[in-house]
């Protein structure tokens, strides 16, 4: 029974541990000093790809690095080059952020390539802007994005095959055990 216990522990807790597949990420994409502010831009997922992306802005006072929570933050994204110039501006807010010390915006980036990011911060008459590049990779194929869900089928099929084999072995060892 003790052995059984150990095996089952490992099995059932797999489900809980599988949450780890959804851990939060985030990467510093841009950090610059502008006026009285130090502005840092994070992205989640860390590799920015075409499609849904979460850009977060940490706005701090330059002198003591304390977080500024009452500013108005706007993100301007421009995709230069090519026949068409894609450009849009979105407000970033605490509401859209998981970490409430950040200002976040959820964007749908339509094209891969190098984008220009401009962050505008306004607070009590102080204004600051920083610009930088954001490298956007092509969209991942959906099969790649959701691969863990497709792996489940062969995995469970394999477990089923092992299950059958074990049952057969057990039947041969103890013919009446499984009745």
């Amino acid at each position: 029974m003790r052995r059984t216990t150990q095996q089952v522990c490992l099995t059932f807790l797999f489900f809980v541990g599988s949450r780890a597949l959804l851990a939060d990420g985030g990467k510093v994409q841009l950090q610059k000093q502008a006026g009285p502010f130090l502005i840092t831009v994070f992205s989640d997922p860390s590799e920015v790809r075409v499609g849904r992306v979460d850009l977060s802005v940490l706005c701090q006072k330059s002198e003591d690095k304390s977080a500024v929570l009452d500013a108005k933050v706007f993100l301007h994204l421009t995709k230069p080059g090519g026949a068409e110039i894609v450009e849009f501006t979105v407000p970033a807010s605490h509401d859209a952020a998981t970490n409430k010390t950040l200002y976040a915006a959820h964007l749908d980036l339509p094209a891969a390539g190098k984008w220009k990011v401009k962050v505008d911060v306004r607070r009590d008459g102080d204004e600051a802007s920083v610009t930088g590049d954001l490298n956007v990779l092509p969209k991942q194929p959906l099969l790649v994005t959701y691969w863990p869900f497709f792996v489940l089928v062969p995995l469970i099929a394999l477990l089923f095959a092992i299950n059958r084999r074990l049952r057969r072995g057990r039947e041969l060892r103890h013919p009446r055990a499984l009745r």
């Binding site: 216990t5 089952v8 807790l13 939060d24 860390s46 299950n163």
Partner: protein
């Protein structure tokens, strides 16, 4: 409070999968705990329950609290998270002695058939013995803990969501493995000498101490990522020292306190742990099955029917007099978006609950108090061919005339349904409309083949001694089964409307809503009351095949590529040709393709099983496709349901794929079981199964393709 601190405390991420997994485990444990507690309980039951819940809460705090939101900014927050994952949650969970409760929480047959062979196999024992032996686990613990804190590995985790997940998984799992040898799950002698835990725990503390000290005394920032993020108030170096201190002090306590306990135990004269004395207690509460056998269920059914009737009336009225903008009208939203998804959800979670609460039979039952039907349904129509034709017509009309987008037409359809059931059942005896006409009912009958509950007899022996057969004949308390299902010979949910008349009528209290293994009846071909053997029925096979393939056709019809294709033909054939283009698509996908595929499988199987009974065999295999078809219906309808309720839809596609996965696996399982019944050798079994497995894989691929296409959103304002 400081505004930054307040903002930090409000930073609760919301990971629905985390919460769902934890709630699922908690519910499973809770069910098992209650089941065990009903039979035997000890003084430690509450403590165990408390420990397990505390373990789950700790996991939740580690993964879904501000700690998670700040782990990219503060090493100290990240270290606290790791401490919880590695050293706090695992022992708490294991102190909850989760094995038995979790096993008891699962269906008994699943545990026996699916998990049992793994638990009892000698190979499994060897692996688990090896994997949970103190030297191996100690080494794993050290490698995982130290390895992940090497700057390159740690930076990798910080820069990649995937590796961050792997890091957390490693900590949690090595934590579980580490504590398994120390927290025995059942009474009995440990395989390790009583002194062994002491050096084991001291070794863990040593690893922890060396690592913590390296943080505290490094003299430089070990992880450049934290240096690049400017912190409010404290420097990255200070944050690192704080992280080291968190790891050092509470981390050491976790190992040293148990080490002291084991030492005291070793040195104390009575080292034996007092065996628990289980107390047998009489059952005081009704079990789930007893509740479902209860006589109140038929009354509840009447209430549900009355409610559904009221909703149907509201839908009809709004459909006729309300705005004709479908997403703003009850007739555009309730029947097509909510009801369809909820009824399939109910079928998969419980059983045929919609037929149980059917508003059409509610009216019919009322009318039968005034009119007694005298006629018998014509023999020629006593099959499923009429509903098959009606279903094909419906699948075509739904897309061709955008029924979902027309509240007034929807209201007419519902009204027509009421009239149809009223006329048919006022003229003909029995539940003729349900059995031979209603397309919705037929859809539910086939879908309920994979339901986890069935109206069935509890003990066949009770029925053998029964002479009155009230379940079918009826008595003064209740009418008998109007669909002519004789309970002792009834197998599966086919043709069962869950009306529960038989439950009410049975004088022996021997009929109940009982749990069954979903899809179990698909592997058997017994004589079924009022149906016969399914392998002999062409009409049932056609119905099943239609419902399976229509799942894919119906969903594909709403995707961009298919709609473009239809519009192309529409433009080519003329202004009124859209119904023709849609009709061609439905006919091809829901009728011609399945017939061709089944013929192909039959021809392949003929090589292995000969000509005799070959079509009979094929008819049995057709039912194996039901799970994948039902899963496609569920995935598709869930999408519309979710789009009507939620704005963020990131969770939808994973759930849809999981639905398809489950359907495919069940289908493959049934195929393998059926092939095993016809193949005498393994090679023959495989050869018989392969063509059907190929068809099911094709359906799976088609389903995935459909799910990945841009799909028209319905039931919401665009």
């Amino acid at each position: 409070m400081d505004s930054v601190a307040l903002a930090a405390l409000q930073s609760w991420p919301w990971h629905p999968w985390t919460v769902a997994a934890l709630v699922f485990i908690a519910v499973l444990y809770g069910i098992g705990w209650v089941r065990i507690w009903r039979q035997v309980h000890t003084h430690q039951d509450s403590t165990r329950l408390g420990c397990f819940v505390a373990g789950l809460v700790t996991l939740w705090v580690a993964l879904d609290s501000p700690l998670d939101a700040f782990d990219q900014l503060f090493l100290s927050a990240h270290m606290t998270q790791h401490l919880l994952l590695l050293s706090i949650a695992p022992p708490l969970l294991l102190l909850g002695r989760p094995v038995l409760p979790l096993l008891r929480g699962l269906p008994k047959r699943f545990v026996k058939e699916a998990i049992g062979p793994f638990l009892t196999s000698p190979g499994g024992h060897q692996i688990s013995d090896w994997l949970t032996s103190m030297p191996v686990v100690g080494l794993l613990f050290a490698v995982s803990t130290v390895g992940w804190h090497f700057p390159p590995a740690y930076e990798l985790a910080l820069g990649s969501t995937f590796w961050h997940d792997v890091q957390h998984a490693c900590f949690f799992w090595t934590g579980i493995l580490f504590w398994v040898p120390l927290i025995r799950q059942t009474p009995g002698k440990s395989r390790w000498p009583a002194w062994a835990p002491i050096p084991y725990l001291l070794f863990a503390d040593l690893v922890n101490t060396v690592l913590s000290a390296s943080f505290v005394f490094a003299g430089r920032v070990l992880y450049p990522s934290y240096e690049s993020v400017p912190l409010s108030g404290i420097s990255a170096q200070t944050d690192q020292t704080l992280a080291g201190a968190i790891m050092w002090v509470p981390g050491s306590i976790v190992y040293l306190v148990p080490a002291v306990v084991f030492t005291v135990r070793l040195l104390s004269p009575e080292r034996t742990i007092a065996e628990e004395h289980p107390v047998r207690v009489p059952r005081r509460f009704a079990s789930g099955q007893q509740l479902l056998r209860a006589k109140w269920l038929p009354k509840a059914r009447r209430f549900a029917q009355a409610t559904m009737f009221t909703v149907a009336v509201a839908v009809i009225i709004d459909g006729f007099v309300g705005t004709q903008v479908a997403p703003l009208n009850l007739a555009g939203v309730l029947p097509w978006i909510h009801w369809r998804a909820l009824s399939v959800g109910a079928l998969l979670l419980v059983g045929n609950l919609f037929c149980m609460a059917c508003p059409f039979t509610f009216v019919r039952d009322g009318a039968r108090r005034l009119i007694t039907p005298k006629l018998r349904w014509p023999k020629a129509l006593r099959s499923k061919w009429l509903p098959v034709a009606l279903l094909i017509f419906y699948f075509w009309a739904y897309e061709a005339f955008s029924l979902w987008n027309s509240p007034s037409v929807t209201a007419w359809i519902i009204l027509g349904y009421f009239a149809g059931s009223l006329v048919v059942d006022s003229l003909f005896r029995g539940a003729v409309f349900c059995k031979y006409v209603c397309p919705i009912g037929q859809f539910h009958f086939i879908t309920s083949l994979v339901s986890p509950r069935e109206v069935a007899v509890r003990k066949q022996s009770v029925c053998s001694s029964c002479n009155t057969h009230d379940c079918i004949r009826g008595n003064q308390t209740s009418r008998g089964c109007e669909l002519y299902l004789f309970q002792p010979k009834k197998a599966s949910n086919l043709d069962c409307t869950f009306c529960l008349d038989c439950v009410k009528a049975c004088p022996h209290d021997n009929v109940a809503l009982l749990p069954v293994l979903p899809g179990q009846t698909l592997t058997e071909d017994p004589y079924r009351s009022s149906i016969g053997k399914l392998s002999k029925r062409y009409d049932f096979a056609a119905l099943a095949l239609l419902i399976v393939f229509a799942a894919f056709v119906n969903a594909a019809g709403m995707t961009g590529p298919v709609m473009m294709y239809e519009h192309k033909w529409h433009a080519r054939l003329g202004p009124h040709a859209m119904p023709i283009a849609v009709g061609a698509f439905v006919l091809l996908g829901a009728v011609i393709a399945p017939v061709l595929l089944v013929t192909f499988c039959t021809i392949c199987n003929r090589l292995w099983v000969g000509r005799d009974r070959i079509w009979e065999i094929s008819r049995r295999f057709i039912y194996a496709l039901v799970p994948i078809g039902v899963s496609m219906w569920a995935a598709h309808l869930f999408y519309h349901f979710a789009t009507a309720w939620f704005t963020s839809l990131s969770f939808v596609t994973p759930i849809q794929i999981l639905c398809l996965d489950a359907g495919l696996l069940l289908t493959l399982y049934v195929i393998v079981r059926l092939a095993g019944q016809y193949g005498s050798r393994v090679s023959q079994t495989i050869a018989i199964a392969v063509p059907w497995a190929v068809v099911s894989l094709l359906l799976y691929v088609a389903g995935v393709w459909v799910l990945f296409q841009p799909m028209e959103m319905r039931g919401m304002v665009h």
